[in-house]
Amino acid sequence: MPKEHANWSPYDNNGGTCVAIAGADYCVIAADTRMSTGYSILTRDYSKICKLADKSFMASSGFQADVKALQKVLSSRHLIYQHQHNKQMSCPAMAQLLSNTLYYKRFFPYYAFNVLGGLDSEGKGCVFTYDAVGSYERVGYSAQGSGATLITPFLDNQLKSPSPLLLPAKDAVTPLSEAEAVDLVKTCFSSATERDIYTGDSVEIIILNASGVRHESEQLRKD
């Protein structure tokens, strides 16, 4: 009997763009707040950023139901970690946990495109970037999601990262100040909004540094 074709897909792309930039003593994590399906906008006011630990924030775009499930799994695992170790997970530790969680569903993946941002144990900014099945790398900056292809070349130009192939390995963390980095992120989003239909409405920005967490929000084009 010829195999029937499925008439529904377990996946959907709810769109959106995420960006993170690591600084010497800060980290900026940002994502737009639009949630779409097909050519419709479901809501203009939806957060894609999740606080996983005191010094780890994850921004994820892709299939929203999978993103929410992934956030739930990681938050639960962090709670258990706190019970067992009486301390918060470090950002590099959370990075490894996220990778393992994603690979666990290698054969029915979480359709989530993640950027993890935070401060490492030395207080330096760190950004980790992922694919849907857990392949990850520590970088100085990253963009994921529908507007990533528009933002990444711009960031490459502005942040002039040293080659990861250099020996000894040079740090990719940007020498820009915190204010300059936040401004750069806002520019990234307003540019991506112009050309990517799935990016817009507003951008939510989280700034992590030694003094704590700060929130900023900018309105974007709603068309």
């Binding site: 008439n7 959907d12 399906t37 809501t43 939806y46 299939f63 929203q64 139901a65």
Partner: protein, 265 residues
């Protein structure tokens, strides 16, 4: 038959919906939540059932509206019944609010999607608890969110734009109903699975009511539909009409003269 890889032919998983309900719309208003849905149950292109209640109460504080497969909605109502029963059995003075019900349903829908056996519905949950208004949506694959106004199916295309223009935080009950009726009328005109028999439900801190079914007035006598191109500049219809008028008149005249002279058969 190979039992390791069951063929699609004997699969018990949901493949496609059979009896379906169309759009549901929900809005927050000054005192609480308003939801609207028509009472149609379509079987493909046939409107088979015309008294399907697609808005149902859940516990003390919430209302659920469903579109999609009606039998799956009935299954969901059974799950919710059990949920509320166990909540009541605690007898601890606490009760599940709309946020909790929404979260529960999101988990149910997502887990069924994970098993490749979805409940083929798009759900809207609304309610008021301790003064907080809540309005949320869940789809058959678990995509969920909350907003000031939500809709399922065609409602996303036809009702949301109206709501984006005209929704306000401080809508009165009458204004809210008028706004919902405007959306439902638009759906009635343009959604072929819509029927002109609807219910509107209201939830406030005080309580919940689902209205009696009623119909909307529709308007078809737009001037532009009467004679669409009469008198239009250079239109051939104008010429043809004039040609036909004169020729017909002449023909009719001649016919009557002929009949008058020779008598009708």
């Amino acid at each position: 038959m190979d039992t390791l890889l069951s063929s699609e032919g004997d699969s018990q998983r949901t493949q496609y919906p059979y009896v379906t309900g169309t759009s549901v719309i929900g809005i927050k208003y000054k005192d609480g939540i308003l939801m609207a849905a028509d009472m149609g149950g379509s079987y493909g292109s046939t409107i088979r059932y015309k008294s399907v209640e697609r808005l149902k109460q859940v516990g003390k504080h919430s209302l659920i509206g469903a579109s999609g497969e009606i039998s799956d909605f009935q299954e969901i109502l059974k799950y919710l019944d059990e949920l509320i029963l166990h909540d009541n059995m605690w007898d601890d003075g606490n009760s599940l609010g709309p946020k909790e019900v929404h979260n529960y349903l999101t988990r149910v829908m997502y887990n069924r999607r994970n098993k490749f056996d979805p409940l083929w519905n798009s759900l809207i949950i609304g309610g008021v608890k301790n003064g907080h208004k809540y309005l949320g949506s869940v789809s058959m694959i678990g995509v969920h969110f909350e907003d000031d106004h939500v809709a399922t199916g065609f409602g996303n295309h036809l009702a949301r734009p109206i709501l984006r223009e005209e929704w306000r935080e401080d809508l009165t009950f009458e204004e809210g109903v008028k706004l919902l009726e405007k959306c439902m009328r638009n759906l009635l005109y343009r959604d072929r699975s819509a029927v002109n028999k609807l219910q509107i439900a209201k939830i406030t801190e005080e309580g919940l009511t689902v209205s009696q079914p009623y119909s909307l007035k529709t308007f078809w006598n737009f001037a532009a539909f009467q004679n669409p191109t009469v008198g239009a500049e250079g239109s051939w219809i104008l010429c043809l009409m004039m040609f036909c008028c004169t020729k017909t008149c002449a023909f009719v005249d001649a016919s009557f003269s002929f009949i008058a002279r020779h008598g009708s058969a």
